[in-house]
Amino acid sequence: MQRIGVFVCHCGSNIAATVDVKAVAEAAKHESGVVFSADYQYMCSESGQDLIKDMIKEHKLTGIVVCSCSPRMHENTFCKAAAAGGLNPYMVEIANIREQCSWIHKDMPSATAKAIVLVRSAIAKVTLNAPLTAGTSPVTKRALVIGGGIAGIQTALDIADAGFEVDIVEKEPTIGGKMAQIDKTFPTLDCAACILTPKMVEAAQNDKIRIFSYSEVSAVKGFVGNFTVTIKRKARYVKEDLCTGCGLCTEKCPQKKVPNEFNLGLDNRRAIYIPFAQAIPKIATIDPDYCTMLKSGKCGVCSKVCSAGAIDYQAKDEFIDVNYGAIVAATGFNPIKVDKYDEFAYAQSPDVVTSLEYERLMNAAGPTGGTLLRPSDRTHPHTIVFVQCVGSRESEDSTKCGKSYCSKICCMYTAKHAMLTREKYPDTDVYVFYIDVRTPGKSFDEFYRRAVEQYGVHYIKGMVGKVTPEGGKLKVQASDLIAGKQLHIDADMVVLAAAIEPDKTARPLATLLTASMDTNDFFTEAHPKLRPVESPTAGVFLSGACQGPKDIPETVAQAGAAASKVIGLLAKDHLVCNPCVANANEMLCSGCSQCEKVCPYGAITYSYKEFRMPDRTTKLRLVASVNAAVCQGCGACTVTCPSGAMDLKGFSNKQIMAEVDAICK
C-alpha cells in the first residue's frame, strides 16, 4: 500500500486568490492512500522543499503530489527535493492548479472544485507509479552547424575555440551568406567584407572545423549526444582537392549568360563559376542547369584550360554519414519575392529594385563596380525613393498574404542606403517613405537622425501607393500624412525594403530535426525568454535569423550563445537518459510492426525470438523491442499498438486510465 503526501502551494496569490487551497488540502486527505496533506505559501522556496524532505521521512511517504504551477516550471525542483528526502524522483506527480486552473478561472468555488479533481487525478496516478532509474548515454564530441553565413561561421568558430570538432554544411558553393553581399554595415558604416572575410578565412584554416560547401543535410537519425547525419555533397563537377581556384575556367567558359545570383541577377556569370573573389573554399563549381557539356556533351572548354585536371564531368552526388553530439540550425533568411506588390512596378521597370539589389549596386564588387547607376540606362539617378515595410506588418487576411511581423532590419539599412547615397552623390534627392521608424539599438536612432539632419534625407510619414514608369522616369504617387497631401515625385529609382523570411530550406530541415517552427517558418525556441538559443528538441540549437529577424550584432551574439550551449553539452561525457521510455510486452506483441512505422526516432526494431508454447514445443515469433537509449518517450507507439503490447514507463495505460477515472468519479 502506498503512503502518499500531498502539498498544495499558494504561489503567493497566484493560486490562493482563486483556489481555496485549504479546502483542496482537506479534500486530498480523504483520498485513499493519502497519509499527509498540507498547504504552504511557496512550495518552491527552500523551506517548502524542506517540508517535502521532512514529511517524506516523518510519514514514510512512498509517493508525493505537489499541487502547484506547470511541471515545466518546477517538476525538476520537486523531484530533486524528493530524492534528497530519500524518495525515488519518479514517485513525484505535479497537479497543475495554476496555469490550468487558477489563472484561467475567475470564480473561486468552481476553481476550487476543479483543483480538487486535478489533485485526485494526480493521486490516482502516483498510486500506480513505480520507481524508475535513469540510464546514461555517451556523447559524440562533434557538432554540426547547418548554414555557413555569419551565424554559422561564428558558432563554428566559438565551438572550435573550446576544442571541439565542428562541421559546417553550406548549400551554396561558398560560405559567407548574406553578409558577403552587403556593402557597409550600420551604424558604424564599416565594410562588411572587411569584417566578414577574416572570419571566413579563420574558419577555413581552423583544424577543428571542416567545411562541407555545396552540401545539404539529407537525413538525421538519433538523439541528443548521438545524432547520425547524412550529408549530401552535391556534384560540383570540380575535384575540390585538385582545383587551385585560379579562375581561368571561369574566364574561358563560353556560356556567358547565366544570371549571377551573388549580384541577384543584376549581371551574368559563366556556367563554371566562383561566386566572388574571397569565396571559401575558393573552388570552381559547374552549374549543371547551364553547362552545355553536361547538357549536350559538347564543349569541354573548362577541362581543356584546367592545368590542374580538376574538372570531372562524371561526378555524382555523394552521401556521407557523420556522427554528432549537437546540431545547430543557422539557415538564415531571404528577402521575399515582391511580385505581388507590382503597384510598385518591380516587374515593369528594372529601375525598381529591392534593398539587397541596391546593396549590390553600391558595392565596389557589384555589377557597376560601386558606381551607383540605374539598371535601365546606366545613368546616375538624381531622385531616389525608398519604400519601407514592403510585405512586412500585414494582417493575415490581407490580399497579398504578406508577413505579419516587423522585419526589423529594414529601417536601419534604409537609413544607411539613404545616408551613403547622399554622401557619395550630394546632388541626389533621397526620399524615405515610412510607417514608423524603428531604431531600438545601440547608436541606431542617432544614426537615423544623422541621415535626416546631417545628410538631408527626406523622411516622409506615409506610404507609396503607385509607381508608374513613364518617359524614363518613375512617377511615384504617395501620401504625406503629416502634410496631408498626396505627393507626386518623378523618381529615377525606387528601392523596396522587402520583408525578410526564413530560408526555404528551413522547413524541410525542421522536419528532419523534429524541431518545431512557428507559422512563419522561423524555428521556435525552447523558451522565448529563458532558453532563446535552444530548440525544444534536445540537442538542437538555433543561431541567427532562422529564429527570427536579426541584424548582424544580434546574430553574432546569438551565434555565440548557441555555441556556448553546444560546448556545455559536448563537455559532458555522458547524458542522463529519460527513463520514461516505451517497452514492449513480448507476450502480447503480434509483430504487426505498426509501432516501428510511427516511431519518429527509429527506436523500435523487430527480431525473431523463440517462445515456448503450452505444448512444450518452441515457436519463432517476430516481436518488437525498444532501444531505451534512443526512445524519447513520446508515446506514439503505445497508442498505435493494436494489441496493447506497448507501454510507456511512468505513463502506463493503466496510469492514464486511473487518472481519467479519478476525473470522472
Binding site: D339, T468, P469
Partner: protein, 265 residues
C-alpha cells in the same frame, strides 16, 4: 461546351459590338453561349454596404437560373462580371447574405453559390486555350502595339475575382499575343478610368482617363483594348484628338479570326 450567358443591359444597346463579336467568335471556337432568359440588370456596381440585400437579388436570380439550366455562367462586361462574381462569392461564403437573399426570393431551390461565374476572357484562356486561338487566327495583328486596359473591375478585389494577379495581370497581354499583336505593358492599365463619376462630373472622369491614355501612349501603345463599355466611353471622352483608338477586345478577336465583315461597323 455549353455555358449560360449574361450579356447585361449595355451590351444590348451602346456596347452591342462587345456582344456580337464575342458570340460570333465563340461559335467558331466551339463554345455555345445560351443567353439566360429574362435576365435583369446587375445594377452596374456591387453594393459594398453589408446591409444591402435587395440590390443583389437580380444577380442572385441570374445565378440561380444558370444553376437551374445546369451550366456555369459566362459574363463579358467587366461591371456585370464584377457584380455577379462578388454576389456569387457572398452566396457561397456569407451566411447572413445567403439566408437573407434566399428568404427574399423564396425560390424552389435555395441558391448557395453552386455555379461558377466565368469571364469570357477566362473562357478563352482556360477552356479554349490561347494556343488554340493562335492556330485559328487568319488575320493576325502583326506589328500592332496594343495596350491592354483592365480597369478596376476585372481584377479587384483580387481575393474574390481571382482572374489574374491584380497588380501584374497578363491575361489580356496573352490574348494580344494570341491574335498576333505585341502587348504594351503600362502601369496605369489597372487604375480607374473615372467610372460612373462621368455622370455628374465629366472633367473629373476625363482627368482620370487621361492619365491612363497618356501613360499607354508614352509606353508606345497605338491602340487600347478593354472589356468594359464604361471604360471605353471614358477613355474615348478624354481622348478627344483620338490619340489612341479604344476598342473592345472581342472586336479584335473577331477580326483576327476573320469574322469581322466590312459592313459591321
Amino acid at each position: 461546351m455549353i455555358y449560360s450567358y449574361f450579356p447585361g443591359c449595355t451590351l444590348k444597346n451602346k456596347a452591342i459590338d462587345l456582344d456580337i463579336y464575342a458570340r460570333r467568335s465563340a461559335e467558331l471556337l466551339g463554345i455555345t453561349l445560351e443567353e439566360l432568359p429574362e435576365w435583369q440588370c446587375c445594377g452596374g456596381v456591387y453594393p459594398l454596404a453589408k446591409d444591402k440585400i435587395a440590390t443583389k437579388l437580380s444577380s442572385v436570380r441570374a445565378l440561380a437560373a444558370s444553376r437551374d439550366a445546369g451550366h456555369d455562367l459566362v459574363t463579358l462586361c467587366s461591371a456585370c462580371h464584377n457584380v455577379l462574381k462578388q454576389v456569387n462569392n457572398d452566396m457561397r461564403t456569407d451566411e447572413y447574405i445567403r439566408s437573407r437573399a434566399n428568404n427574399y426570393m423564396a425560390p424552389d431551390a435555395e441558391y448557395n453559390g453552386e455555379i461558377n461565374v466565368i469571364h469570357y476572357l477566362e473562357l478563352l484562356r482556360d477552356t479554349v486555350g490561347f494556343e488554340n486561338i493562335k492556330k485559328k487566327v487568319v488575320k493576325p495583328f502583326t506589328g500592332r502595339k496594343i495596350g491592354a486596359y483592365y480597369g478596376c473591375l476585372l481584377l479587384r478585389p483580387g481575393k474574390v475575382m481571382q482572374m489574374d494577379d491584380p497588380e501584374n495581370p497578363k491575361i489580356l497581354e496573352d490574348f494580344i499575343r494570341a491574335i498576333g499583336g505585341e502587348p504594351v505593358i503600362y502601369a496605369q492599365r489597372n487604375e480607374c478610368c473615372g467610372g460612373y463619376a462621368t455622370v455628374e462630373d465629366k472633367a473629373y472622369a476625363a482627368s482620370r482617363a487621361g492619365k491612363v491614355v497618356d501613360n499607354a501612349a508614352a509606353c508606345g501603345a497605338d491602340m487600347l483594348i478593354t472589356a468594359c463599355p464604361l471604360c471605353l466611353y471614358n477613355l474615348n471622352k478624354s481622348n478627344a484628338e483620338n490619340k489612341l483608338p479604344v476598342v473592345y477586345f472581342t472586336e479584335l478577336l473577331a477580326e483576327a479570326l476573320g469574322l469581322k465583315e466590312e459592313n459591321d461597323v
